[in-house]
């Protein structure tokens, strides 16, 4: 889950690509906060794997991510069903829906071995004020994405969401990160 330090500068993407990725992340953040889920879904590559691994508390230097352990791991069909459900009127974890505000930052864009695929590191802090809760919840995560550069713009090919929480403090992951 860590980037080799020697890739720090030599793999930087071009300024034009960074700009394109930055606009993409801003756009998808807006779509998700405005609940335009199908518009967001249109940004997913057919091969999308969206995953949120489970994390454990370990001593410094030990692996915090056991194999075969995740909260969520969706391919495109699974994500499509998830979004369909939000529109049924009976997806009660998100109906009434949370008011969400997400800040995306710490952007780092790297080229990859494959042409037209970039590796994107970012952080997201999501404030989620759900239904009539007295207080909102904060979800903080680091994301590692792979994006495909296509003629129609960027498409999200893979997203790994690394939560800061080991015990999640928002009652469910009915929101997209």
């Amino acid at each position: 889950m860590t980037i080799p330090t020697d890739s720090y500068t030599k793999n930087f993407a071009s300024e034009a690509t960074v700009n394109q990725v930055s606009q993409f992340l801003g756009y998808e953040a807006m779509l998700l906060d405005e609940r335009r889920f199908w518009d967001w879904f249109a940004l997913l590559d057919d091969e999308i794997i969206y995953q949120v691994p489970l994390r454990t508390v370990r001593e410094f230097g030990k692996d915090e991510f056991p194999p075969n352990a995740w909260r969520q791991r969706d391919n495109k069909a699974m994500m499509e069903t998830r979004i369909k459900r939000l529109f049924t009127g009976s997806a009660w974890a998100e109906d009434p829906p949370s008011r969400t505000v997400r800040s995306v930052g710490s952007l780092l864009v790297e080229v990859s071995d494959e042409p037209n695929i970039v590796v994107v590191h970012s952080t997201v802090t999501l404030y989620r004020h759900r239904a009539q809760d007295e207080q909102g919840d904060l979800i903080a995560a680091r994301r590692r994405d792979r994006m495909r550069l296509t003629e129609d713009g960027l498409r999200l090919l893979a997203r790994t969401v690394i939560l800061a929480d080991t015990v999640m403090t928002t009652p469910n992951l009915a929101v997209i990160l």
Binding site: T56, R71, S90, Q132
Partner: protein, 454 residues
Amino acid sequence: MSTSTIRMSMGPAGMDNLLERVAEGLPQGLLPVEVFNDEDVFQAEMQQIFAKAWVFVAHESEIRNNGDYVLRRIGLDPVIVTRDDAGEIRVMSNYCRHRGAQVCQSDHGNTSHFRCSYHGWTFKNNGDWAGAPHSKEAYGGRLDGREWGLLRAPRIDTHQGFIFASLSEEGPTLKEFLGDAAWVLDTICGLHPGGMRVIGVPERTKIRGDWKSGAENFSGDGYHIDTLHFGNEQTNYAAGLRQNNDVANSLVLDGGHAFLCHSFVDMFGPFGEFSGYPQHIKERFDLSSLDEAQREFARERPPSIGNIFPNLGFIRFPAPAEPGGAPAVFTSFRQFQPLGPGMMEMWNWQFTFEFMNDEESIPGYTTGQYNFSSAGLFEQDDTVAWEGARSVAQSVWNRKAQTNLHFQQGFGSNIERPADPTWRGPGVFRRNGYGEFGQMNFYAQWLNMLQKRK
């Protein structure tokens, strides 16, 4: 749902009164709202239930090797569950005997010793005091290993690899405590003599609901499925949710344990035998450790949802790993960990059979997490529904009105079914998912244990 920050507590006299109301109410299918969120109720539960009952702490497959450990809880107490250097399972209080600092701060790992970070007192992985820095100068030599060792749970026992601990030196044995739930657990795990194992690590999520809301739901609430979870039928991911209770059976056992058992064969035909496991897995099942009644049970109407008192939930269901794809069967054990009045952590372990390798187990794991996890298409909605009971329990108006919640479904009404006379297993088996018999049975045991507080 409003989440009140006011903490109501009723005091000892209030508790006496409440338990009397529960005792009067239960035979009529009534339960006072206060039980779901009250300081005194919670304290009584910690002392009378969690410090006495056999509480699940880990599965043996999580600590296969000597030195393996996992950090767990019994009620609010953090415990280290280890396999010590001699291969013995130990359950120890995670508090240093010197100044009470936590000696283990890692969720899992392997170690021969736990060394406290404060002054360096060190304990063997069986809990014995092993040493301290400058022990000659500081203590004139070694301390007694057991006298100053970590507290050990007085009783530990296992069944089907499930490790249970009791903080009470007296009381029923694990075998007596599980009673006929052991027979059901044997059926669940015994589709192969090798039993089951944990995949990955438990998933943990803090939920604004009382632990009992989870436990009672898994004790037999088939009734919520086609309302709370109906969105999954609307998306065409799941089918037949409305008929769910018609093909469900309720199994109520002594000791507060209860299960729902689904007649998957009636739903899906022969494919539904043995919970609908794919043919290539069914072919490898070996029922030699099961008796005739268990074999029929597993084949025709297997346990699908349940709760082993007090807080070990279970669910095994067939569902597509991805929409429109081939069904896989998942097995999850889950624990409704009390965190405070009206607050819990949901711990969710996905299991697979020991005879299946990781690769073969992935479809079941994927299906399980897609349906029953913090992100699960079914479970995410439960987390919201359970917020109600903890909230009404703090309602001044409802406390003043002495509001009872309604548990009278099938209770002396025309849908109440007699026990199935053809049932060959233990307990009361009803050929119907309606009724709240399992929930009532859970609260009867809850009351039984709280009444012993004097």
